[in-house]
Structure formats: C-alpha cells, structure tokens
Symmetry: C2
C-alpha cells in the first residue's frame, strides 16, 4: 500500500493508526536495545586496523628526532606528508596533532575568545556570531553555544548554502565564523561545489572571520565517484583571503575513533597564531602514535585502499537503510531522505512537527536515535522535521530491525498528527 497518508479517508487512516500502534506495542514488548545515534565505526571496521595494536614502531623519525621525547610541535613529517597529499595541502601548511580534530576546533575558538585572531579584539563578552548551515553537526553547534557565540542558521542546499545569503551575513563585522563540512556534510551528505566555495573565499568579511572547514569525511566515499577534496587553501589565497580557512581532518574514521591523529591545515599566519597559543598548552603531540599511524598507513595510496575496505562494510548498510525507507515510506507522503555518496549519515525529514515524536516513539521501542533538533543550533529545529540516522555502528541485522522500527514510528507519528489535526 503506497497511498499517501494525506489521501486516506478518516476511517482508513484510523485503521492504519491502529495497526501501527499495535506494531509499535510489539516493538516495545520485544525489549530490543538498538543504537543508531552516533557516527561511530563498527567493530568490523575497527578490525581492519588490527595491525595498529600489534605493530612495532621505530624510536626515531626520518628527520632524526627521538619520537619518545618532548618536542616536535608541528608533528612528524611522515604523517603530515601522507595527509597533505590526500587533502591537497602542502606539507608546510599542515600540522599533525593528537587524537581529536574536535579538540583543535574547540581550541581555535577558545584562543579567539581569549586572545583574539589577527590582532583583533578577543571575542569574550562581545556579540559574536557564526554562520551555521543547517542541518549541521551538533558538536560544532555546542562549541558555539558553550562559548556564548550566536549562531545564524542558513539552509544547506545541494551544493552548499546560498552564497548571496551567506555573503550578506558575513558583511556584518560581528560575524566571525562559519561551520562548513565540505564533503559528505554531517548529516545530509552535501558536497560543496567549486562555485560555492570560491564565493565563500572571496566574499568580504571581518579580518578575524574564519571558516572552520571540517573535512572529517574527505576520503569517506560510498560510491565509485571519488571527488578530490577541494583545494580550499589555494582558492582562499587566490581570492586574496589566504587566512580565511582553518581546515581540519583526522583519522578517527580511518583507523581508530578517538585514538588516531588529527590535522590542522591553514595559512602560515594562521598556524603561527595557533602555535602562539597552543605552544603554551603543550610541548608537543604524541609522536609515537603519529609514527605508528605513518608506518601503518604507509602512504596516501595505503589510506585510499583502507577507505575502500571501509566502504565495502559501510555501503551495504546505507543501501539497507534506503531499501527499508523506500519499502516502508515510499509514496506515503510522510518523509524524504538523503542518498549520500559518502560520509556517515542519512538525513530523514519526517512530517513537519513529528520528528521529536518519532524519536520518542523509537526510544520507547528501545531504538536510540540522535535527539530531534540535534542538527540545528541550540537543538531547535523550527520545523521539528529532521532526524539524523547513523547506520555505521550496528550490524546488518540490528540495523534492519532498527530501521523497520523507525519506519513504523515515522508512520505512526504522522498518522497520529493527521488524526488529531
């Protein structure tokens, strides 16, 4: 039956509602515990990197430094070279840090708040705003919220946000930043295109305006189309705004999540500014872990090969999610969803005003979803519409069960709403 729910008679809708309620009650009774909240790699993916737990590491780097001692603030050339090549960044413009690019993003914002960027005033206590494409990544938004930075949501279209709207906002000197996940955006899988990015690089903005360019999924393809990361630092320079971008990346979804190596790529001026402050914080990164990663990954091609193995595990999960959503929700007029060609998420847009209800119904049935609203600043989705699905962590059977349950909840919440409208 693929009649849109809105086309059903009141009696048919009531009957459907009854059937869905009973299906949901069965789910609740079954007492499952399924979790598709976060973009975590699965055990099978982590097992790909078993050698990282057993391999030997030499004591010295190629430049002779003893990796077991203090120092080397920029990180080992060995690992910077690999990720410089993968991201299309000169090795002099990329540094390797510890286990979390989120931490670098946070620290960059903290340094701006306390010390200011590029000789401008610190942001503390001032009316500072960030442009926040939505839907977006909740942990980005929480950094702003925590630091008292106001977020201005802009809709994330198929190739990025509307550049005229962004340029209009950036012209306000109190707008100091923007969050961008340029490839396979969290959560809707969008890939920013050249035209959009060129516009973001060239638009006038405050001298301390920066784009937090979180390239977390630059290599995380799900199809044969494997677009190269955009040369954003080069374009920033060409546009006469060489310091516009803080580019971030990490191996968290390449090797081990939270135990890998993170990267910051930027202009010389920005990296110097970063070390002016980060150099007070630390004498240097964990170079042993960087060396272990460099030896394990070998070279850029080694990383690409590994990403192929990840894809072989992940792509069937995304296909399964799409199959179930298509089978259960196709033609019912209650939901649309994305078909990402990379990254870690599917964005499910349900009937307006029902996302929180869907998440709540799923929770009753033992299925944990990312909280409704999480993909919007301050957790506020004005349409109560967007749900982020993270299919990576569960096995295929759990994922199937979870998605069937989610589909039931989506239909039930919609029928509920239509009946009480």
């Amino acid at each position: 039956m693929t009649t849109p729910l809105t086309d059903l008679s009141h009696d048919d809708l009531s009957a459907l509602h009854e059937q869905l309620s009973s299906e949901h009650a069965e789910l609740v009774a079954r007492g499952v515990r399924l979790d598709i909240t976060r973009g975590k790699p699965s055990s099978a993916q982590l097992d790909l990197n078993a050698d990282l737990l057993t391999m030997d590491v030499p004591a010295h780097a190629e430049d002779g430094q003893d990796i077991r001692n203090y120092g080397g603030k920029r990180g080992l050339p060995e690992i910077r070279r690999i990720f410089g090549e993968l991201l299309g960044v000169d090795v002099d413009h990329i540094i390797a840090a510890d286990n979390s690019s989120l931490s670098i993003m946070h620290d960059l914002a903290m340094y701006a708040v306390v010390h200011g960027i590029a000789g401008e005033k610190p942001w503390f206590g001032r009316n500072v705003k960030f442009i926040a494409p939505v839907p977006g990544y909740d942990r980005h938004f929480v950094i702003c919220e925590h630091l008292g930075i106001e977020m201005i949501p802009v809709e994330l279209g198929e190739h990025g946000p509307n550049v005229d709207e962004v340029a209009r906002l950036a012209a306000d000197p109190s707008v100091k930043g923007m969050w961008v996940v340029p490839m396979y955006a969290n959560p809707n899988g969008v890939i920013y295109d050249e035209q959009t990015v060129r516009a973001l690089m060239s638009m006038p903005a405050a001298p301390d305006f920066r784009i937090w360019w979180d390239n977390a999924y630059a290599l995380h393809h799900l199809t044969d189309a494997e677009p190269a990361p955009l040369p954003v630092l080069q374009w920033a320079e060409e546009a006469g705004n060489p310091d516009r971008v803080f580019e971030l990346a990490s191996t968290s979804k390449i090797t081990f999540a939270g135990d890998g190596v993170s990267f910051l790529a930027s202009s010389k001026a920005n990296l110097d500014w970063y070390f002016d402050h980060a150099g007070i914080r630390s004498i240097g990164p964990d170079k042993v872990n960087q060396m272990r990663h460099a030896k394990y990954l070998g070279d850029a091609e080694g990383v690409r090969k590994l990403m192929g193995a990840h894809r072989a595990i992940l792509a069937p999960k995304f296909a399964l999610v799409d199959d179930i959503l298509t089978n259960r929700l196709g033609g019912r007029g209650v939901a649309t969803w994305t078909h990402p060609s990379g990254g870690y998420f599917v964005t499910l847009d349900v009937m307006d005003g029902t996302a929180a209800r869907v998440v709540s119904l799923a929770k009753e049935a033992g299925i944990s979803l990312t909280p409704a609203g999480a993909s919007h600043p301050l957790g506020h989705d004005p349409h109560d519409r967007t749900i982020r699905l993270a299919p990576s962590f569960p096995g295929m059977d759990e994922l199937r069960e979870a998605m069937e349950g989610v589909a039931t909840c989506v239909l039930l919440a919609a029928a509920d709403k239509l009946l009480t409208a």
Copy 2:
C-alpha cells in the same frame, strides 16, 4: 685553592680573572655544543621502555568497552587504578587523559578564564592573581602570563613557602590560584611538608581559589628515602575545603616524554566542572595509549620498579654535578646549590647580579642553560641569581664537560663583577 673570591687581593683576583678568561676562551675555541636546558629524559632512560614500542594491545578494556572507538571520557580504569594507588587517590577521583598534564593545567585555567569556577564569574578581563612560589617552573608562569594573570612571587623555603605570607595573600579575593610542585619542586627540589600543606588546605580563600598541585615528580626519587605523596585531597576535605586542589601527574618522565598518559585528580565537584567544559572539547582520550601503558606498567609495583631503573641512570648524573660544583666552587663564596633527593633539577644560585652573565658566557662556550630568570614570573629574577641545571639529558661525559664549563663561567662572572665593583 679554596679562598673565597672576596678575600683575594686585587692582584690575586686579577690573576685569577685572567686565568679564567683564558679557560673560557679555550672553551669557546673548542666549539662544543652541550645542552642542559630542559628536564628531558635521556635516551638511556627512554630505552628502558623499549617494550612500549613493540607490545601488543588488546582491543577491549576490562569493563568491556572497545578502546578503539569513541567515548570513555574518564579514561580506562586499568590505568587510573595504578596511578590512583601511586598517588594515594581513590580511583573515582582520578581521571586519565592524553599525553600532557601541562595541557590539563592550561585547560583548567582557560575554563576558569572563560567560564568561571564554582559558579563564580569568569576571570576574563578581571584583576586575577596567582601565588607563585619562587624559584618555580617556567611553563606554569607562562600560562599565567599568557592569560593576563598577575603573579605574586613568594619565596620557596625548605618545606614550602611561608604559610603566613601565603595565607595573607590568599585572603585577597582577587587571588584565585597558586602553583605548587609539592615533591622535588622544579627547580629547587623542595618537598612540601605536612604542616605547610595542612595550612594551605585550611586557609580562608576565594570560593574559586584553587591550587594547581603539579605532582610531576611524585615518584622520581634519587635516594632510598622515598616519601609517599601527601594525601592532599583527603587533607583538603578534612580542612573543609574539598575543592581546593587540582592534582596533576603524568608518565612523561616514567615512560615516554610527551607520548604518555596524564592524570587529573580532584573532588567530584571539580571533576564534574572539568567535564562540563572538557566534554565540549573532546569525545574522550586516547584509550589505546592508556591500555598500552596499563599493560606495560602492570601495577603500582611495576611503576616503582621502573622508577628504580630511572634512578640508577639519573643519580650518578646528579652526583657528578655536585662533585664538580663542590670541587670548582666549594669555598669560593660565589655560589650555592641544591642537593635534591629527587626530581630533575639542581638550582644553582650564583653571586647576585651575575646569573644572566653566567648564562651568556656559557652560551658563548656552546653550553645551553635555561635562561636566567626563567624560574621567576615574567622571567624576572630580582637578584639575577638563580640558574636551573637540568642534568638528565646529556651523557656523563657531556655533562662533565658542560658542568666544568659552567663552573668556569660562574667564577669568571664573579671575578668580573668583583673587579668592576
């Protein structure tokens, strides 16, 4: 000849000066490059931990968590238990973090600046002061300097600073912090005693006054006297100020420097406050490195045994420093120095007004010393007297050569000063 320089006739002093000048010129001509600036472990010490570069690590912790994935913000119980026992802290009150306790200290200060402690106002833009026992650790002082926190130096006596003076300062509500290296203080090797610490715990102070209790050398004995770390968290609680202390430690001078595990021990309220902010920064620490360390160290006894091996390498270096200083400077009335029973440093106090000159003369001779003044806030030693010697890194031959050179520079600078007085 052990006549004090001040007792020499002008002619004898001139003759000595000439001889020292010529010794120094020979040193300069020899063109050595020796470095005793920083408290870095030597290669021989790092080699003690060769197994850390080759050992296998299991994928799961004792509590079942997959250490290869996100989460576990408090750190692995395995490693927290070992260092909780060593520091005399309940495992619930100690968390394990990444590779740098300096970073934790910095972050604690940053969170206080931006967010405030214990519901008090953020420190940003306010007249905030720290008590800074001198001589002290330059990287502590630089954190304050960088954050615009004023430092009030107090003299570090044999068992800690004068508690009446500290209590008088702490009564000022703008005094918000104090730096303490309680065991084998950097750089003068002082061990705080119970009476001092009890007084620090019980003195009245601002609600957001905290002591940064940097127990960097808690296990770093150089003699058979191996005092246990003071139970400072317990004493703080007994004094009715359970939140007074942030205790820090790390394995940087136990395993690998900058590639180890760091620890924060504190009250529940302080740890909750820390995670309110650190939880925005990171999804969790590098648990693989923590597991590697837990497996390698085994238990508290394993750490103690390893520290014995470090001592066997370090103690002869400290003895050599003392021998050379005694032979060359004993009875000359131009210098005093410490005889630490642990830690990484010897403090050499030279004739007032000559420390900077000694460092400069040594530099000309290719011997790098910690800059004069580094052990004082803002790098300002009012007496221009204190030089920190770090004997750990060089081999015995280099150390001998460096110390002979330093002794020559100390004598030369003193003779210079006396002749021109």
